[in-house]
């Protein structure tokens, strides 16, 4: 087990470096000078050069990358052009809100997904299966930003039950787990949960079907085991793959929250990314993407290790 973990951790290092390189290059694929956006239109050549030196854009690219990486390793991602505040602090503050949203959505999506998937796989080709499969297909096909709008139309505009946008009364940034705050979370969390719900349902349904058709299930039933206990075997066999899929989905929810956060003005990393893009705040854009991608890489690492620790078959291969 230790060897397995060590090998996976070592394998992550080149990935992390490549991710950093991609994030670094993002700023340099932008058409034109990265400083154009922040320079006033009437800036002199001299001023432009001064700023270029100040940001280090006058040095060769590999040197810039080295310096940027060195600072990033020490937790310095530069400062936001728009606000002047350190990028890392801005990103971490926003990520907290995104985590809140993703965890709530995961709780809804995974519970429903596991439930629908298990019953659909168990009662395959019955009406239960058909209903669950249809819900799953709708879940993976729906443009979630549109679903968010429709939910706002129904529950905020027409019924006036839940707030349409924001993350707390009076637009306050501090989150708390009381009803005053949670009612702001309900709609974005349901909206975020539909895709993972659909994907988990489809995965678990396929897994359950495959496991039930294996010989050992036949053997368990033949020896007279109660159906509920057979079911426990099914769950144990489906768990590692289901866990891996759910881990990946959690990562997607954390990293891909920009559309939903835009619809609901949820003050997380996605909304931060949105404003970084439209204010051409490149250090903030770069930093946010780096932090989110690293989150995703480490989450995948954790999932792999967790999967290996509950499934003895993985370590052997």
């Amino acid at each position: 087990m230790f060897v397995y973990i060590a090998r996976r951790v070592v394998y992550v290092i080149p990935i992390v470096l490549s991710v950093a390189l991609v994030c670094f290059l993002l700023v340099h694929i932008t058409p034109g000078d990265p400083l154009v956006a922040i320079l006033p239109a009437d800036a002199s050549q001299e001023l432009a050069q001064q700023l270029r030196v100040a940001y280090g854009f006058d040095r060769p690219l590999p040197v810039q990358f080295g310096l940027w990486l060195w600072r990033a390793l020490h937790g310095d991602l530069g400062s936001s052009i728009a606000t002047g505040r350190p990028v890392l602090a801005e990103v971490l503050k926003a990520v907290g809100n995104t985590v809140t949203l993703a965890v709530a959505a995961a709780a809804i999506g995974f519970t429903l997904g596991l439930f629908f998937g298990l019953i659909a796989g168990y009662f395959r080709d019955t009406w239960v299966d058909k209903v669950a499969t249809s819900i799953a297909i709708a879940g993976v096909s729906v443009p979630h930003y549109w679903l968010g709008m429709v939910l706002v139309i129904i529950f905020s505009v027409q019924l006036n039950w839940l707030p349409a946008v924001g993350a707390g009364p009076g637009g306050s940034g501090s989150w708390a787990w009381d009803w005053e705050h949670i009612k702001y979370l309900v709609l974005p969390a349901i909206t975020t949960s539909v895709i993972p719900m659909g994907i988990v349902t489809r995965t678990v349904r396929a897994l359950t079907g495959d496991i039930l058709s294996q010989d050992f299930v036949e053997a368990l039933r033949a020896k007279g085991l109660q159906e509920t206990k057979v079911f426990r075997h099914v769950i144990k066999n489906a768990a590692p793959t289901a866990l891996a899929v759910m881990g990946l989905q959690l990562g997607y929810m954390l990293g891909g929250s920009i559309l939903i956060e835009t619809v609901f003005s949820w003050p997380g990393s996605g909304l931060l990314l949105n404003s970084a893009i439209f204010q051409r705040d490149l250090p903030l854009l770069q930093g946010t993407i780096l932090v989110l991608a690293l989150f995703f890489v480490f989450l995948n690492l954790l999932v792999d290790i967790a999967q290996a620790s509950i499934d003895p078959r993985i370590k052997r291969s």
Binding site: S18, T30, Y145, G256, F278, L285, F296
Partner: protein, 295 residues
């Protein structure tokens, strides 16, 4: 080898190849759900292509007097948008750009990814490692984040949105293509072709492509649904199409302000994206089970 199950059905001798595809065709024609979806998609496509001949209102011509009419208003069966433009015309014309920016990235990625995966899988060795490790880097980003990062850096525009989505899908298709190719590269018929002196290019093009294309194609059709949602999503954020072009994602964005006045008109463009996306998903599912001839 997870691909072994998929390739088992593709090792039928060449003379029976037509028989296989004919069987697949018959099976999918019997699949009611897939056929209904294909029909709906055909309607949406035809309407978008022949929009100028349908005697619709001008999709760009607005009027401040008749803004945000409700669905069912005489002369405006689906109402009007925030600038008083006919929604029916804009939804039909909107199909042109929406379908283009949603489907083109998958087609481009299908061509590029299949080539990369085929070469990586057939040649193997260092080239395989180089291609597949590069692909791994892109897997370190959630696809929405990657699309938005590239689009955001390149700036708004239709071309940039197509480029960024292509970059998102190439690694995914390359992985599938590589794994199916690796599955067939050691088959006897490939060995036979090599022994009879066929060049690597001929082997890949003549002997392997036909055997791997089916699985990759089905996978790619499944991606169209994701691509439609993401492409419209980029426009929704303001990173794709620019006003006044009719495009479903952008229309959804500009109509967001109207949800307090005329909510159901505002929701229409999203319903179109949903319809196309779910039809492609169901069609792809239908094709997958039609090609799975083991049962």
């Amino acid at each position: 080898m997870t691909v072994m199950t998929d390739t088992a059905l593709q090792v039928a001798p060449a003379s029976k190849a037509r028989g296989y595809w004919a069987t697949v065709g018959r099976r999918i024609a019997r699949d009611k759900v897939a056929m209904v979806c294909a029909f709906i998609l055909l309607l949406i496509f035809l309407a978008a292509i022949f929009a100028p001949y349908l005697h619709l209102a001008d999709p760009y011509q607005g009027s401040m007097i008749r803004r945000l009419r409700a669905i069912g208003t005489p002369n405006y069966p689906l109402g009007t948008d925030e600038l008083g433009r006919d929604m029916l015309a804009r939804l039909i014309y909107g199909g042109r750009l929406s379908l283009l920016i949603g489907i083109l990235p998958v087609i481009l990625a299908f061509v590029i990814g299949t080539s990369l995966g085929l070469v990586a899988g057939y040649v193997g060795g260092k080239l395989n490692t180089a291609i597949m490790r590069t692909v791994d880097v892109f897997y370190a980003f959630p696809s929405v984040l990657l699309a938005i990062a590239i689009s955001g850096a390149l700036g708004a525009g239709i071309l940039n949105s197509i480029v960024s989505l292509t970059i998102v899908f190439v690694p995914q298709i390359t992985r599938v293509a590589e794994s199916v190719t690796t599955g067939v590269r050691n088959m006897d018929y490939v060995e036979a072709a090599r022994a009879s002196g066929a060049s690597a290019f001929t082997i890949m093009r003549v002997h392997m492509l036909g055997n791997v294309l089916g699985s990759i194609f089905v996978y790619a059709t499944g991606l169209i649904s994701v691509s439609m949602i993401l492409a419209a999503g980029l426009s929704f954020l303001g990173l794709g199409t620019k006003p006044p072009e009719p495009e479903w994602g952008l229309m959804l964005n500009t109509l967001r302000t109207a949800i307090y006045v005329n909510p159901w008109v505002a929701a229409l463009p999203g319903a179109m994206i949903f319809a196309v996306s779910i039809c492609f998903n169901l069609l792809s599912d239908g094709m997958r089970s039609a090609m799975d001839i083991r049962n």
